[in-house]
Symmetry: C2
Subunit: 121 residues, 2 copies
């Protein structure tokens, strides 16, 4: 895999943001730095970055996937507005395996209503 300017830009945006952007959000952010970047390039790089484990994907209950830096943290997902909040202080010990299946990583998502959506209820 070669280090293209485009991949570096995409990875930098993800690593320096905590907005959990989707592909389009990344596309617009990337265009600020490289106006001719194409959407296909965004998707192609996101896929390979996920495959190599350099970034994470989050499913937020809509039809779009969202992307996140690879860092030891978990998420709170608001089931109403789909806001995602980072959680760094959750206590869970990763098992090394489950039965004969090897556990490499894990994801925990707490779901519920965020502060704002509770007020609106």
């Amino acid at each position: 895999m070669r280090r293209s300017m485009q991949r570096k830009i995409i990875l930098d945006i993800i690593n320096n943001s905590n907005e959990h952007l989707d592909a389009y959000g990344l596309y617009y952010a990337a265009r600020e730095k490289l106006s001719r970047i194409s959407l296909g390039t965004i998707y192609r790089n996101l896929k390979s970055l996920v495959d190599t484990g350099e970034i994470d994907v989050i499913y937020d209950g809509t039809d779009k996937l969202r992307y996140d830096k690879r860092e030891d943290h978990q998420h709170f997902l608001c089931t109403k507005c789909h806001k995602i909040i980072d959680i760094y202080d959750l206590d869970f010990k990763k098992p090394t395996n489950y039965k004969d299946n090897k556990v490499v990583s894990y994801k925990i998502v707490l779901e519920g209503l965020c502060e704002n959506c509770q007020k609106e209820e």
Copy 2:
């Protein structure tokens, strides 16, 4: 919400299976019981069943969503073949809230290589 034959069939298939089927899998399974059921009906009911919390959705890393009975359990996901295995003996205590966000439920996915995929490595 009215109890249509179609919704009952879909819910029964999900509750009596541990295959974590996707929409098409459910469509084919449902057609065995009601040959004229339409794919749109499958999707419409899946959406409302998820909204009311009668079933769960799982994102397995492909572009299809998979559906699961609502039951207190977690999942192991093989990142290579996308097999999903149910886990009933994981120890995690749901917090009632995270900061000012109300936690209603949670999902834990252990990711790694299943028994078969380890052999093929």
